[in-house]
Amino acid sequence: MAKKLQYRRLVLLALLLGAAFVGLGYRLVDLQVLRYEELSAKARDNTRKEFLLEPRRGDIVDAKGNILATSAFVKTVCADPALIGNRQVEVARAIAPLLQASESELVQRLAPRLGQNAQGVIITNHYVVLKRKVPAETWQKVQMAMTNLSFGLDEKKLPRAERRFYRDLRRGAIYVERFDDQQRVYPNQALAAHVLGYVGMNERKMDGRPLLETSGKDGIEQSFDAKLTGVRGWRLTEIDRPGREVVALREQDVEPQDGLNVVLTIDSVVQHIVESALAEGMDKHSPNSISGIVVRPRTGEILALATLPNYDPNNPGNASEDARRNRVIADVAEPGSTFKIVVVSGALNDGVVRRSDTFDCEHGRFHFAGRILHDHESYGVLSVESIITKSSNIGAAKIGIKMGESRLYDYIRNYGFGTPTGLPLQGEVGGIVHPVKKWSKVSIAQIPMGQGIAVTSLQMIMTMSAIANKGVLMRPMLVDRLEDRDHIVRAKYSPQRVHQVISEAAAEQMVTALKTVVSPEGTGAKAIIAHYTAAGKTGTAQKSGGPAGYLPGKYYASFIGFFPADNPQVCISVVMDDPKHGYYGGQIAAPVFKQIAEKVANYLNIRPEDGEVPPPSNIAAPADDRPVRTAAARTPVKTIQ
């Protein structure tokens, strides 16, 4: 009997154990087979993380390697309102001064907002951005402030749940975005702002959160955005329970490829010289704007390109749209007398006229096609050279008439007018050049004096550079090369010859004529530079607009020149839009040219033409009677030439 009972118990136990094993077996199959995909994905999500590694945006540097634009990594400070509870005021008070934000605004942002998720459950927001572009040092101070945050309570006496609340608040309520943001820094502030441009932000979603990306919005920043940006890397890895990376379990680790540095042809010192001179010109003559360009005629390299008013690319939003516009390439205007170089050089090249040929300048009044053309002074018979020297409109018009519409149009186009020069900056326009069939009867007389055509300042200086460069038109060059962080050159840009516009002989004749402009007899006497022979052309054009075609009393004043005239090293253009005190190019733009030229010659160590000057025994003292302390004053500079 007892045995039977024992046997029954044994069977029961076996059944129970069997059932338990069946149950466990089912669970095992359920977990490992039936729900394998779901659970393994969940497990992967809990431990595996993908981090995006931001590339560093490349720098923009000048020809000498000076940094003009660089990037710094910065933080985006966020908050988890769910962890702050009702302690917004204390938190805001602690961090508002550090973030330089309004306390009341922070209190509003830190307040939890309730919402419903897809399942209809009421949830609190866990993510709010408090401030972007926060330097790492500031973030460290914020962390310190949060760690030392006091609520005026003896927290040891509080219940466990409240103690945990305060601990979590200090540790996790204020945090930074996982991905560092970048801040573009322009150490020279407004220097070369119109060349460099500025950057802006593009927003895109990453893991459901907005991620801001830096991209160029103007200037070189925009044109070379793809090269500057670089390629993002990534890291696929596993994290432990507190969220720390387990380095040993890294699966993929692809380094980001930093953006390339863009090396410009701009020289920051020349740029500074130009901007300083333009600023003085701005103060003196109060024009709406003033622009200056310095080009190496032989290569087309732009050493400086500036226009005022300008802006600080560190804060482009603070500047007006007018100040942000690069007028050198985006604004067109009738060039006035500087355009005479096109018609005269074309006529000399075609042999239509010789430098010594003479024209009757009608004593300042010339009736043509029902219109009366004027000169600013009464001239009689002038040679072609004198027409340039004195800037006679009537003389230029007569040369144009002699040359003919078709050839004049050809030269205008050959010099590049009517099409953008190809400078790697957005917004360049080609100007307005009407085809011959749209010309009026008076156009052939007006265009040679720079009316009835609209050009950019850049086109004009490239034309003058072509004359200085023996008739060869070069493409303007702003970027010299692209290089990586180790200064290994990845792309090199060479000077590009567009074509020979006029013969070398015609160019030489033009240079001879242009030298007379920068002489006591010429209109550009105020551009005479000590120790160098300069060649150039003045320009004074009425501003077009208004019902009468021109705005009364409003002018463009300009001077474009190069030096040394027989071995041109630099070509400089100065243009003023609507100057208030004086308006003749020779009177107000030429002195600015002179100021730039003298300093640039000194800086670039351009050899003076007036022979060797023995060093003086006594160095002249400056105005304030302090001894001059230059390298030359202590020991003469020895330059091997």
């Binding site: 010192v269 500074h272 300093k599 302390r629 003469p636 020895k638 091997i640 030439q641």
Partner: protein, 128 residues
Amino acid sequence: MARNRKYQSAAIRFGPSLKAFLLCLLIGGSGVGYVWQKDQISQLGQQIKKREQYLDELGKQNEKLRKQFAEMRSPRFLERRIQELGLGLVPPQPAQVWRLTEPSREVSRQDGEQQYATPHQVGTEPKG
């Protein structure tokens, strides 16, 4: 018994024991080795992480210094400092600059004169 005594079959057999011991040692050693290796990997991982963070920190410091250096080299900053310090620096006038003509190699080298520099080292600056 006599047979056993003759062949000493009752004596302690060390072979199997040693084999068992070695097997245990191998298994145990492998286990300890595996754990030690894992621990090493983990420690190395932590070291890598620390060094990466340090490198990152140095990179950021470097960036900061580069930025500071760029600001200090800017023409505007230098001009301001020259004014602040009252250095009175002005550009040298052309008359203050001596321009020396580079002597030609043939003229400078006399017969029998020993040449101390290779030809491309003669003349420290390029022509231009």
